[in-house]
Amino acid sequence: MATDILFYVFAFLTLACGVFVVANPFSRNPVTSAMFLVLTIISMAGLFVLLHAFFLAAVQVLVYAGAVMVLFLFVIMLLDLKEEERRKIKKLSLVAGLVSVGAIVAIFLRSLLATNPGKELTNPTAVGDTATLGKMLFTKYLLPFEIVSILLLVAMVGVILLSKKDFK
């Protein structure tokens, strides 16, 4: 089936680009990490489309790959981190990280495969298009929606205050 093949394509792209965000063998420059994070997010939007979450796929591309990553790139360019490239990763932290992450992956996969949560769930029909999600946002989730707008305002004020020149 075409959607199955697309799933494997997008899943492979997501994970491969994720690897390049964390450990790029060719370059230690944060800009390449940021660009691979953009690719990860876009292929994850493809996975969202396969899950029939169309609105969220659009929001993922617009907000994450657009706004958030532009902010990241802006800050990377602003800080000019050239001299950071030469430092080496310590062997001890690499080994400790790999061991702990391997243990967590083992726990995740073991519990996932032991319970196989999706075995009986077949033929889902829910479609997350804009009209349906918008209706839910303005009826059932109206209060959280308004609170989130206040949160955005607070974050904006905080950012302006933090980036003032004489910040103490």
Binding site: V59, L78, G97, I104, A126, L162
Partner: protein, 120 residues
């Protein structure tokens, strides 16, 4: 011990050569691996900005889990939750990056090993 090492359901049917459709488990496995990648980045990388990007990776894997559960349970509440998570994550990134810039102005470094004044 036998039960622990028996090959579990999705892998067993793949190994047996049976056709199987992409289901909830596939998405959850991708999400778990992505979360692990982000965690590995936070633990091993020492650059504040790359650590922050790895954090975003972990956040995105949680979003993928929520969307796939929402899809396979025929319930759109999870997708509304993801919408809120994306909104809050955008605010969080703005505040965090402003903090990193303020820190860089004070210390001239975005490297966690240079930021040890609270260590002892």
């Amino acid at each position: 011990m036998r039960a622990v090492f028996a090959i579990p359901y999705p892998l067993s049917s793949i190994l047996a050569g049976k056709r199987m459709n992409v289901g909830l488990e596939h998405y959850l496995i991708v999400s778990a691996l992505l979360f692990a990648l982000g965690l590995l980045g936070v633990i091993t990388r020492r650059n504040l900005l790359v650590m922050y990007m790895s954090l975003e990776l972990m956040l995105n894997s949680a979003n993928l889990t929520l969307v796939s559960f929402s899809r396979f349970n025929d319930n759109l509440n999870g997708q509304v939750m993801v919408f809120f998570i994306i909104t809050v994550a955008a605010a969080e990134v703005a505040v965090g990056l402003a903090l990193i810039v303020a820190l860089y102005r004070k210390r001239q470094s975005a490297h966690v090993e240079d930021l040890t004044s609270m260590k002892y």
